[in-house]
């Protein structure tokens, strides 16, 4: 069963912040985040393992609440280059190698 991402789409002005959420009905082992620009392949951003780790990547960070089976991606002081579709991929069953992806969140950053 696919994790649920929210919102489906968000429009920002450069410099604004955004939060993208990923929620699963299954007990999670890890959450992966990817960004895909139009016409390109998805690109790995970060992975969060169970234990509530918070990771960072430039001005993009994420958290993982394993009790709630939720992860959130935080984009701070957004840049034009942040535009794209963000996907969370969740792993369950004690292993990281098989992911189920959400349907994605389209982020548009305008000047």
């Amino acid at each position: 069963q696919q994790p649920v991402q929210s919102p489906q789409a968000v429009i920002l002005r450069e410099g604004e912040d955004a939060v993208i959420n990923c929620s699963s009905s299954k007990a999670l082992y890890s959450v992966h985040w990817y960004r895909q620009k139009h016409g390109e392949a998805p690109v790995f951003l970060m992975i969060l393992l169970k234990g509530g780790e918070q990771k960072g990547h430039d001005k993009i960070s994420a958290s993982f609440n394993e009790k709630k089976q939720q992860s959130s991606l935080y984009l701070t002081a957004s840049q034009l280059s942040y535009s794209g579709t963000y996907f969370c991929g969740t792993a369950s069953g004690g292993s990281n190698y098989k992911l189920t992806f959400g349907k994605g969140t389209l982020l548009t950053v305008n000047p």
Partner: protein, 113 residues
């Protein structure tokens, strides 16, 4: 770049014909995956491989078969293509370390007429 290529990059075929897509990696990753991406559905796993000749089904495997005879190559076959299999197909690799972050190939756009 993770050293992963896909061929062909674009293909148009007719309903009922067999089609094979190829994924090639130069990174010696253990795991290889085939996904399809359709508007409104995100990425959905078709099949994956955890070693030479070791494969397993994903969530949308009906109508697809795979083979992996060498570490570097993972083939996806549509035995008899249907219009519902029109999609963008991505190959991915992982397993360099225990985090299993996935690296994606450039994709193959397949159109079945």
């Amino acid at each position: 770049d993770a050293g992963i290529t896909q061929s062909p990059r674009h293909k148009v075929t007719e309903t009922g014909t067999p089609v094979t897509l190829r994924c090639h990696q130069t990174e010696n990753h253990r795991y290889m995956y085939w996904y399809r991406q359709d508007p409104g559905h995100g990425l959905r796993l078709i099949h994956y491989s955890y070693g030479v000749k070791d494969t397993d089904k994903g969530e949308v495997s009906d109508g697809y078969s795979v083979s992996r005879s060498k570490t570097e190559d993972f083939l996806l076959t549509l035995e008899s293509a249907t219009s519902s299999q029109t999609s963008v197909y991505f190959c991915a690799i992982s397993g360099r370390d225990r985090r299993y972050e996935q690296y994606f190939g450039p994709g193959t756009r397949l159109t079945v007429t």
